[in-house]
Subunit: 160 residues, 2 copies
DNA sequence: TCCAATTCAATTGTGTACAATCTAAATACG
DNA sequence: CGTATTTAGATTGTACACAATTGAATTGGA
């Protein structure tokens, strides 16, 4: 219906401002909501591992390459030290990583995996598969969506 | 240390575990990183309005329809009262919304826009356009990505 | 050489996010 | 009626997330 009449209607709702401020037309909100929903879907899968979702991402980064500095982790995950420092301390307290000052350059802190941290990789192996089932998306669509998002991320980083 | 195999090539990186735990192969991480980058891109645009990014989303929802209950806002934005209550108190303190107990049902709190809150919509009008430029994506790709994400969100809500 | 600029991580302060719990209000139901 | 259940928000506790600042370590010049 879209009462596009030039009525000076004030109270009811958005109208004159057009659709471009509608929540459902915002890519940003679709991204925000989807990201939140996916994070929530991971929670029950990660709880048995003793990890939160951001902690899981940090562990993924470390399983791929360790030891790494806080800085390198931040670049890989797009996070800064204000976020990572307390998170890594919690992972250290949980026994999954160690934090050591680099002897070469005392400003750096190297994050390494403990035995328990390494061992956790086996248990985490089932997580992506379990989640992929919940997504209810065919594999080729998952790949395409992921590629599009990585593309977007790359462009935004370049433009910043 | 890595006594498990006699191959001396243990240290470098993930390998046997396969690619399915690689960060770059995770849709969840692509979503997480893209969402964070977009949020960050909004920040400088929203700062002159006196809004954070989640506050902006709440205002979008209210510009579309107000007054609304906290519950209704939570459903629209996929957020719960533990997040919304303090956020709405800050918006109230900023003078953009009012919070009123519903006389019909005293459990409900109605969130309405103030004059300042209504007026902010005009200033916010430029935000989506300004951001669309930064995205460096053609409009049809934006629409397609948005549709895919909304699809994903719908499926995940249905499966939960 | 010496010191200014840079770099790295930690800290501080503000603002989300959510689970679990709590309270009051409304509804169901016997 | 009167109580059990459900519902709406608020509160509490834990965990991100980032801007701004700090402080120590390194680097780059003049």
């Amino acid at each position: 219906m879209t009462t596009k009449t030039k009525t000076k209607t004030q109270a009811p709702a958005a109208k004159a401002a057009g659709d471009h401020l509608r929540l459902d037309n915002q890519l940003c909100f679709a991204l925000y909501a989807a990201s939140g929903l996916v994070t929530r879907a991971y929670r029950p899968l990660l709880e048995p591992l003793g990890l939160t979702y951001p902690q899981y991402l940090v562990m993924l980064a470390l399983w791929e390459q360790a030891p790494r500095t806080v800085k390198a982790l931040g670049q890989a995950l797009e996070l800064d030290s204000g976020t990572l420092t307390p998170l890594l301390k919690r992972l250290e307290a949980a026994g999954f990583v160690t934090r050591t000052r680099d002897a070469e350059d005392e400003r750096r802190v190297q994050i390494a995996l403990t035995q328990a941290g390494e061992a956790l990789r086996e248990k985490a192996g089932v997580v992506p598969t379990a989640l992929a089932c919940q997504l209810q998306l065919p594999l080729d669509e998952i790949v395409e969506l992921r590629t599009t998002l990585q593309d977007l991320a790359r462009k935004m980083k370049a433009a910043s």
